[in-house]
């Protein structure tokens, strides 16, 4: 294998336990999806860290640009009325 001839890169997501969502744990190289799953099992679950694995080819992931961070997420900062603490409710009223 010479430079530039790596197998495709895959991102690995693992569900640690029933009831949890899959979480990104790292990446690996594999020649196809089946091998990616097998490698993910060997590389990322040697101590039963999971009970389900997703693999996604890295080139299929669409990511937001770091430069867009402010324009995408800052507007939410001013929407304080989206949080329950924005609203005033008298102490004597319960279950709210």
């Amino acid at each position: 294998m010479t430079a530039g001839h790596d197998w495709p890169l895959w991102e690995v997501f693992i569900r640690a336990r029933e009831g949890l969502s899959h979480k990104h744990v790292g990446s690996l190289h594999a020649s196809d999806a089946e091998m990616a799953l097998q490698h993910a099992r060997d590389v990322y679950t040697r101590r039963r860290e999971g009970e389900s694995i997703w693999v996604v080819q890295s080139t299929d992931i669409v990511a937001s640009a770091p430069a867009d961070k402010e324009s995408l997420f800052d507007p939410a900062d001013s929407k304080i009325y989206r949080h329950p603490t924005f609203y005033e409710v008298p102490d004597e009223v319960e279950c709210l």
Partner: protein, 327 residues
């Protein structure tokens, strides 16, 4: 994940200032964030060197798998070696987020352009050496790696956290081997002492040159790639390990080693830096053997990699054709 690129319209100086302020505020740098070229280069060098060490580190232990004295020892050694392979893979992936490729890194190792930890250029002469490696070499690696969990580069720090969780059994299994040898027959104790004698000094060298001489240290500290100095990490390792040797009833091969009440640390003798230099530059007892074994394994596996790639490509084309036919 995705190769980083310089975007946005801020000037280089603005970006650099913003970068350093993030680092100062302990905000992790992620793959696609702007970073100084030097930061990227330093990380690629350090992380790939770290990855190579994990991979090459499997070689000296691998030759003892078939000679392990019991099934219990054999499965624990196999599990440890497997972990080291995993560590190498986590680290290669972390380095790849910086825009280098796996193949480039492996080529650099095989062509002698990249370094790996010098400790693996020493021979493993007896079963007690396997104990000493787990106890001392993994012990030193843990001290180093715990500090790296706080590294400013996200993917490296996360790989380190995972590695640290897995390392502690490596050290404990090594110490357990040392205990059975040190508390065993006279011959076994002699082997344990000899292993300690030979592995102690190279283990101390694992922390790198003294801070006074280390070329990269201050910039790396500013970038928070490095969080604790070489000398401080080494001292921490010595302070931790001396009582462990005492418990085994073994003698440290350093006549100058003694507790300094005032400093609250052990004083220790001079490290032979000339030896480190000599071994790093290729003249150690096993440099050639390690690289020959590594390159051979890679070349012997070439046909498997090619066949798998061809099969993967065929699958992809077939799937594509089926999709077109269905449309």
């Amino acid at each position: 994940m995705v190769q980083s690129q310089i975007t946005g319209n801020a000037s280089e100086a603005d970006e650099a200032a913003r970068f350093q302020s993030k680092v100062d505020r302990e905000i992790k740098i992620e793959p696609r964030d702007w970073m100084p070229e030097g930061y990227r280069k330093t990380l690629v060098r350090q992380i790939s060197q770290h990855a190579h060490s994990e991979i090459v580190g499997m070689l000296p232990e691998g030759c003892w798998v078939t000679r392990a004295p019991s099934l219990r020892r054999k499965v624990q050694l196999l599990a440890k070696i497997q972990d080291e392979g995993g560590h190498g893979l986590y680290l290669y992936s972390a380095a790849e987020t910086l825009g280098t490729s796996r193949a480039e890194m492996i080529d650099a190792l095989h062509e002698g352009r990249a370094k790996y930890s010098n400790i693996f250029n020493y021979p493993v002469l007896s079963w007690a050496d396997i104990g000493a490696i787990g106890w001392l070499v993994d012990g030193a690696a843990i001290i180093n790696q715990i500090a790296l969990c706080r590294c400013s580069y996200g993917p490296y720090a996360r790989a380190m956290e995972r590695i640290c969780r897995e390392e502690s059994f490596h050290q404990r299994q090594g110490y357990e081997i040392m205990m059975s040898m040190a508390f065993g027959t006279k011959d076994q104790k002699r082997m344990a002492q000899s292993a300690l004698d030979r592995w102690w000094w190279p283990s101390l060298m694992m922390f790198g040159p003294s801070d006074r001489e280390s070329a990269h240290s201050s910039q790396s500290m500013q970038w928070k790639i490095k969080r604790v100095s070489n000398d401080d990490l080494r001292q921490q390792f010595i302070d931790m390990t001396v009582p462990q040797a005492d418990y085994l009833g073994l003698k440290m091969p350093d006549p100058d080693l003694k507790w300094n009440e005032e400093r609250g640390h052990y004083d220790f003798g001079a490290i032979d830096w000339a030896e480190l230099k000599r071994v790093v530059s290729g003249d150690g007892p096993c440099n050639k053997e390690r690289m020959t074994a590594r390159v051979k394994a890679h070349e012997d596996g070439a046909w498997v990699r090619e066949a798998a790639a061809a099969y993967g490509e065929k699958q992809r084309l077939r799937k594509q054709a089926a999709k077109i036919a269905a449309e």
